[in-house]
Structures are given as C-alpha cells and as structure tokens.
Symmetry: C2
Subunit: 336 residues, 2 copies
Amino acid sequence: MQRVTIAEVAARAGVSTATVSRALSGRGPVSPEVNDRVRTAASELGYQVNSIARALRNSRTDTVGMVVPNIGNPFFTSLVQSVEHALEREGRDLFLCDARSTPALEARRLRSLVARNVDGIIVSPTHGAESAAAVAATAAALPLVQLDRFVDGTSTDWVGVDDIAAMRLVLDHLHASGAHTVAFVGSQETNSSSEQRLSGFRQRVGELGMTLGRHGVLLGEFSIEWGESALTQLVRADALPDALVCSDDLIALGVTRACRAHHIDVPGRLQVTGFDDIDFAGLSEPALTTVAQPTDQIAAEAVRLLAAASQTGSTTTRAAAHIALTPSLVVRASTR
Amino acid sequence: MQRVTIAEVAARAGVSTATVSRALSGRGPVSPEVNDRVRTAASELGYQVNSIARALRNSRTDTVGMVVPNIGNPFFTSLVQSVEHALEREGRDLFLCDARSTPALEARRLRSLVARNVDGIIVSPTHGAESAAAVAATAAALPLVQLDRFVDGTSTDWVGVDDIAAMRLVLDHLHASGAHTVAFVGSQETNSSSEQRLSGFRQRVGELGMTLGRHGVLLGEFSIEWGESALTQLVRADALPDALVCSDDLIALGVTRACRAHHIDVPGRLQVTGFDDIDFAGLSEPALTTVAQPTDQIAAEAVRLLAAASQTGSTTTRAAAHIALTPSLVVRASTR
DNA sequence: CTGAAAGCGCTAACAA
DNA sequence: TTGTTAGCGCTTTCAG
C-alpha cells in the first residue's frame, strides 16, 4: 500500500532519480537503452507519479477549478460536461465545486481552489453583488473566466450567451404567433443573467409595441416551485397574458405544470417559453419552446481564454474579453 | 500575483517559519503575544496556505475523490450533492469526476485520483465487468467505497439501496392495483443495479403469481431514448402488458412520453413505474410512481466507511461492509 | 548522456 | 515557548 517513488524505480533500473524523471517525462536526453530499462522497472513496480510532489516542484497542477451556483440545475450540469470535454483535449483535469447558491460557500470554494494552486478558475457567480468581492480577490491571484453570469463591477474575462438577442428571438416568435400581452417570470435580479434577460425582454416588448400585462414582471428564483407559484399568482389576480416568457426552463416547467393543474391550455390560451434547453424541456407536456445555449462553444471559449491568460502570466495587462455567443430558438409545442 | 509564503509572514512577524506554522495551524505551543503578531502579519500580507506543499508534507489532502458514471443523470447529481454535504461536515473537499459511461475513461480518472493522493475514493462503477480491474487496483492503493453499483468479484465496502426490496415494493403495489401481466424495461445487465433489479423483479413476479408478458424483459440503457424505443417495440409487437416496471426514471420518462405519442392511457391502459425519484419524475405527465433512494443516508454511510478505512490504514484487514439501505415507494399518477 | 544536489512550501522532531 | 533542521517526491540546473 506504500506508494512507489521515483527512487525505487531508479534503484531497480540502476540509474539516478534524475534519469528516471527524464525518461518518464520524456523531456531531456536519455539513451534508448536506459529509457527502456527505466520504463520496464517503472511498470514492474507499478510506479505512478505523485502529482502533489510534481505540482509543488513545477508550481502548476494541470488542473482547472470550476465553481457553479447549483449543480442540481441541469443547465449547469451540461455546462460542466462541456467544460470537462474541452479540458480533456488539453490533458487537464477539472476540479468541480458546487456553491449551492450561497455566496459565502462560493467564497470558501474559491479560496480553496486558490490554495490548491489550480492553474485557472472558471466560475459562474451565484450573485451579482455578493459574489463580487470573492471573484475579484480570486481573479487577482489566478487566471479567471466568468461563465454565463458575471458579477457587478469586476472586469474579468467573460463568456456567455447574448441574452438581449435571445429575448429578441423569443419575442419576435411570440409576436409573429399573435401574442399581444406578455409577462416575464424570472428570478430576482441578483445575477447578470436575470438582469440581462429582463432588460432584453422590456426592450423588445417596447420595440414590437406589445403590451406588458398586469403583474407583467414576476421575480422569484430559478426553480420549478417558483414557476408554479408565479402562474398561480397570475391566475388568482385574473391577469393571465397571451404569453409568458420565463427566464429559465425550470421556471417554465413549473409554469406549464401549474397550467395543467389550473386547466389552462398551453399554447391555446397561454404560450410559454423557457431558456437553456435542458434535456427535460423536450419532455414536458407540452414540450417547451426555449432558447438553446451553445454550451460547447461557451466552454471552448472559456478554456481558450484561460490558456491565453496562463500564457501572459497576469490577467491585469490585457483588456478583459467579453464574449457573447449567439443563442438559437428551439420551437416546440408550448407556443404556436 | 506571486503567492505569499510562510517565510514572508515569518519575516514580517519577526519569528521563524516553524512558529508561523504552529500559530496558524493551532497545533503546538505558541505564546498569545506571538500568535497575535503572526496572525496580523499573515492577514496583512494576505497569506493563504499552499495546500500542495502541505499535502506533500503531511501526505494527506483532506480531499475525497468521487467518480460517477454520468453526471448528466440527475440521480448521480443528487448523490454527488449528498456526498458533498456529508464531507463538508468534516471539512473535507470533493474532487468530482465524470466517467461518461466509459470504463477506459473511468480507469484514467481513478488513476488520476490516486496520483493526486486523495484520502479516499467513492466510486459508482460504470460497468460490472469492465470496471472491475481499475476498481480493484484503486482499492489496493487507497480506501475506496463503492456507491449504488458495484463491480463483479471485488470486495470493497459498498453502500446502496436494497434493490430486491425495492422491486418487492413496486410489484406489491402493482399487484394490489390489479395488474396481472407485467414487463421489465431496464439496461443491459452490465452493472449491479441492472442485475439486482431484474432479479428482484423476476423473483417477486413469481412469488405473486403474476405473469410475464411476451417481450417481458427489454434491456437497453439508462436513457429516455431507450424508454421510448422499448415502448414502441412493445406496441409494434402488440405485446403491451398491464404494467411496465422500469429500472430507472429516465427510462420510465421515455416510456410515458412514447405512451402519449401512441395515445396509450397511463395508468388506465398501462401502469408505469420508475426508479430513483429524480426531480423530474414528479413533473412528467402523468407524474411518475417511483422508488425513492435515500441518497443522504447512502452518502453519510459512504463517508463514514471512508473515515473508518482511513483510520485502520488498510482496507484489506477488515471484512468489506455491504450496506443495503431501505428504499421507499413514492406513489404518483402513473399507477392506479 | 548521466549523476549530484538544490529546492518548491510546509510541518514535525529535536534542541535550546 | 521558540528556532534549527530535515525531508515529503519530484524536476532541473550544473558538472562530469
């Protein structure tokens, strides 16, 4: 159970530890014959590098840290999968942390990642304001890219989707299908996604001359429960619009579920749209019209930015990149 | 951006590095006055431990590795959340890896975790046979607990749910609600969950005197798509039973979705049950009757076993624990 | 091409 | 109570 070290391999191969290191890592000159001897000795002993020791010596870990607001949200899960995929191509590992929508926990995770000497950090901050200090402090110490969401007032690299364009897609579609009054169900504007989507919504509603229903903007949280309760509120207030734009799929799923309970026909009486295109969006009854995010692209850009930042050493010199990728509309059965 | 080391703190506080270490870690005698000086110096400089160096020195990382077959499956996501919660109480971090249902990738992840000197590993093996060698090799090097699934022929600690009991719950319920002919839709028997559930199913069907429909056992994979295709097969063969027992919720969700497409009334014409009780089980139309796994308990036991194994140093001495926790049936609208 | 030796940052003996 | 020192396992100059 005692781990095999490079010294034991060296002894067995009859060479020095330096030579073993050179042979195994493949950098530095080693005669073919010695190379062979070392490699067989290593495999006979079942040698495996000790990444900790290597990391200490090299001051790099080949590991990227990632912090997401809530791994229970399928959107973030697929973002994680995309990031892991992108990193794999470079032979780097991912250290994943869940902030459980708690800024204090998120701050702890970030500190822990810094202490672990990860080479860079990808974070989707939980809260626009309350996450700001921790993100800024972390960005000062390490290359850091914000994903999907970003915090107020900090300028680090960011990659996400163009929320304004997304809302344009959604509202143009609803407008074309005859909706006049619309309402928005989102989360409290405590993060950039919420803010951007709401502001894109307001903007396009104005441009298209649509009218905001009574109770036209309902803000809660990104959850199924909130979606259900929002719809119930609208029904109680007798303020149902023609269409309901939800700022994520969980909310939309809650809304359509509550519609079934209240016998409201979707999309006949009420059209509903979501955001993210999580797997289950296509499964609900009716299947959800929603905005698909290009998660693979987002992840690829993030990894690229991180690599670039690691090159230059410090993030502070360059201007921060702000990359908003183009979303696409997936039309299903919850709209006409 | 250069990281602050203990030496700089020592210089500033006018003491030795050893004293700084003692003061900051709180073990070893330090005079209150010096303690203060060290602490203020540390915070002024923004000192943070270098976990890598500490880990090399202490040969422990306070980190547990976890490998799941597929993080896209919500069941594993909630298992991960439960494990992270349980570890948090002990102040240990989780290093999460996704095996993407690929034994070769899983083996790589396991090796990487060993190389990283994690203190222990929690793994839900992808494949009963093909994961066996890697799991065995890993268990030889580190404390390891298998979760939910286990590999053939290796005896490590295991925690999961009692699949036999679960199938008993399901079939008793279906039997009571008048189902006579039943069929089973599962995944290929490449992992223990599949095997156990199928065998529990067969057993209870026999005991209750129910009859297995034609095409009574359909095996594919744990996915929505497979559920849909399985139902379609049954319809085409005109072999629809009274009830369909699915070995996870994804399959069941696929089945109920296909039922909508084929205008098959659930539960009127066909009763359907799932397994795992993922969040979306309650959302589908009709809401799924399913078996809930006690994930928090499972995680707590796993963490406890890992701690115990770390204590004794080696796993080989003790007999392996095999802990099957009791599942519960959640009755919703997909059964009568 | 190979070996000796230093040192990454930290902690635990051991001395003082 | 504090300081000195050795060393965790690895890589990398620098000599040979």
